[in-house]
C-alpha cells in the first residue's frame, strides 16, 4: 500500500529543463546492462536498482545542484568549474505533481522528505514507479528559493542533440519517447553567483521549508504527513 493518503495528481505537459554534466559525458542516462546501467544513488533512486534523469526547471536550479554536491563555498572554487549545461525539452505524462510543500501535505506526505534524507524519498520513488508514474516534480533541495522545482524522470532517456535551432516543441517519437531534444548551452560553464548564494548545503536548514512551516504554524521535527516505509 502506498504511503500517500490521496494520489498525487498525474500531470501531462511539456517542460523546458536544465541539467549539468562533466565535459564529454552525455546529458542523459542510458545503457545496455549491469555495467553501463549503474548510476550513483540520488534522491529518487538507489544505485543498481534503476536509472533516473535528474533535471531542474531553471538553470540556477541545475547549478545549485552542482554547488551542493561539490560543497562549493568560495569564489575561487566556483570559478575553477567548467561544466556542460544542457537545456532539454521534456514531453511526458504521468508526472506526479509534488511540486510544492502544500501538495505533499495534500497527499498526506511529510514535506520534509522532499528536501531531507534520501532513504525516504527513494522509498517513495519506488512507490511512485509501482503506481506507474513516469516521474515527479518536487521542490528543489539545493536551490533554496520559493518556487524552485526539479523534474525527475524515471527510466532511461537519450539526447537528440539540436544545433543551430531552438528546441522543437515535440520530440521524435512523441510524448514519453526516449529521445529528448537537447541544446548544449555551454561546455565550460560555472555555477552562477546567485546559485551559490542561494544553495542550501547538506547540513543546513532548508529556509523555504522552514518558512512554509512557519506560515502553517508547524514546528520543525513535527511531521506534517506520513513517511513511506523504508526498504530494508
Amino acid at each position: 500500500m502506498p504511503s500517500w493518503t490521496s494520489e498525487p495528481e498525474a500531470l501531462a505537459g511539456r517542460w523546458v529543463a536544465y541539467r549539468h554534466v562533466a565535459g564529454g559525458v552525455p546529458p542523459l542516462w542510458t545503457g545496455a546492462g549491469s555495467t553501463t546501467l549503474r548510476q550513483e544513488s540520488g534522491r529518487w533512486h538507489r544505485e543498481g536498482e534503476s536509472l533516473v534523469q535528474y533535471l531542474a526547471l531553471s538553470s540556477d536550479g541545475a547549478w545549485a545542484e552542482r554547488v551542493r554536491y561539490e560543497s562549493i563555498r568560495t569564489e575561487v572554487r566556483r570559478r575553477r568549474e567548467h561544466r556542460s549545461l544542457w537545456q532539454l525539452r521534456v514531453s511526458a505524462d504521468g508526472i506526479a505533481d509534488l511540486s510544492t510543500f502544500d501538495k505533499w501535505e495534500a497527499c498526506g506526505l511529510d514535506p520534509a522528505i522532499a528536501v531531507g534524507d534520501h532513504a525516504d524519498s527513494q522509498s517513495l520513488a519506488s512507490e511512485l514507479r509501482r503506481a506507474r508514474y513516469r516521474g515527479v516534480l518536487s521542490p528543489s533541495a539545493a536551490l533554496d528559493v520559493a518556487g524552485a522545482v526539479n523534474l525527475t524522470l524515471f527510466g532511461a532517456r537519450v539526447e537528440h542533440h539540436i544545433e543551430g535551432e531552438p528546441l522543437p516543441e515535440d520530440p521524435v517519437g512523441g510524448v514519453n519517447a526516449p529521445w529528448l531534444p537537447a541544446i548544449l548551452l555551454t561546455d565550460r560553464g560555472a555555477p552562477t553567483p546567485f546559485a551559490m548564494e542561494r544553495t542550501c548545503y547538506r547540513t543546513a536548514q532548508h529556509r523555504t521549508l522552514a518558512e512554509w512551516r512557519a506560515g502553517r504554524g508547524r514546528r520543525p521535527g513535527r511531521p506534517a504527513g506520513r513517511r513511506p516505509r523504508r526498504s530494508p
Binding site: 545503457g31 545496455a32 550513483e40 575553477r80 529521445w179
Partner: protein, 245 residues
C-alpha cells in the same frame, strides 16, 4: 560509468585504437538520416536499394570490429563484452524490422546510441586500467595539473619536486614512493578533469566535505589510502552528472 569487477589486462595502444575505431564508426552513424526532399526519392527503388546496401555494409564492418574485440583476451571475461554483443544483436533486430532503411521511429538509431554508450564505457575502462599503473598515473596527474605550482603537485602526490619535474617532461621512472596514493589520485583526477581546471582539482582535495565530518579528501588520503579510495571514488564518479542530492 562504473567500477568493474575484472578490468582488462591489456592496455596496449593497438587495443585502444581498435575500440576508438569502433567508437568513430558508431558515432558517425548516429547522425540522423536526412530525408530526401521529395516523396518520390524517398520511395524510389534505386534510392532504397542504395540506403539498404550502405547500411548493410556499415553493419558488417561494425559487426566484424565488435567480434574481433570480443575475441581479444583483454575482454574475454568482461561484462562490457557481453553488453556490447547484446547491443549488436539488438541493432541487428531493429535493422531487420526497418526494411526501407528510413528508421522513421529512430529505433535503429536508439540501438546505435546504446551501443555507443557501451563503447565509450570500454574506452573509459582502458583509461582506468592504464592509470592503475603508478608510473602512468604519475605522468597523468603531472600533465593534468601542469599549471599548478610544482611543489603543490609534489605534496599532493607524496613525491619529490624533482620527480614531478621529470614526469612533466615525460621521463618515466619506477614509482617506489607512495604508489597506491599516486594511483588513487590519478583515478580521482581522471574523474574530475572534465569538470574543473587543474587548480580546481587541487582545491577539490582541500575542500572540507559535510559527508566526511568536514574532513578534506587530502586528510582522508593521508589517514588511509585504501579507505579514502572507497569513499572518494564514488564521490568523484557521482559528480560526472547532475544528481538531486
Amino acid at each position: 560509468m562504473s567500477a568493474l569487477a575484472a578490468p582488462p589486462t591489456s592496455t596496449d595502444d593497438a587495443l585502444r585504437q581498435r575500440v576508438e575505431a569502433l567508437e568513430r564508426d558508431v558515432f558517425a552513424a548516429l547522425k540522423p538520416y536526412q530525408e530526401p526532399s521529395t516523396r518520390d526519392l524517398r520511395n524510389d527503388p534505386v534510392s532504397r536499394k542504395r540506403r539498404v546496401s550502405e547500411r548493410e555494409r556499415w553493419f558488417e564492418r561494425v559487426r566484424s570490429e565488435i567480434l574481433d574485440l570480443a575475441r581479444d583476451p583483454a575482454w574475454r571475461d568482461h561484462a562490457l563484452k557481453v553488453e556490447l554483443l547484446l547491443t549488436l544483436e539488438d541493432l541487428r533486430a531493429e535493422i531487420a524490422l526497418d526494411r526501407d532503411a528510413l528508421d522513421e521511429g529512430w529505433r535503429v538509431r536508439y540501438a546505435m546510441k546504446i551501443m555507443h554508450v557501451v563503447v565509450q564505457a570500454m574506452l573509459r575502462q582502458l583509461d582506468h586500467a592504464a592509470i592503475d599503473d603508478p608510473a602512468y598515473a604519475a605522468r597523468f596527474v603531472a600533465e593534468e595539473l601542469r599549471n599548478v605550482e610544482i611543489g603543490e603537485v609534489a605534496r599532493l602526490l607524496g613525491a619529490t619536486t624533482k620527480s614531478v619535474r621529470n614526469w612533466r617532461e615525460g621521463r618515466v621512472e619506477q614509482i617506489k614512493r607512495n604508489p597506491d596514493r599516486i594511483t588513487l589520485i590519478g583515478q580521482l583526477a581522471y574523474e574530475l578533469r572534465n569538470s574543473m581546471t587543474g587548480h580546481g582539482i587541487l582545491f577539490w582535495f582541500d575542500a572540507p566535505r559535510e559527508q566526511f565530518g568536514e574532513r578534506t579528501p587530502r586528510e582522508l588520503i593521508d589517514a588511509d589510502v585504501a579507505e579514502a579510495g572507497r569513499k572518494l571514488l564514488p564521490l568523484a564518479r557521482g559528480g560526472r552528472a547532475q544528481l538531486d542530492v
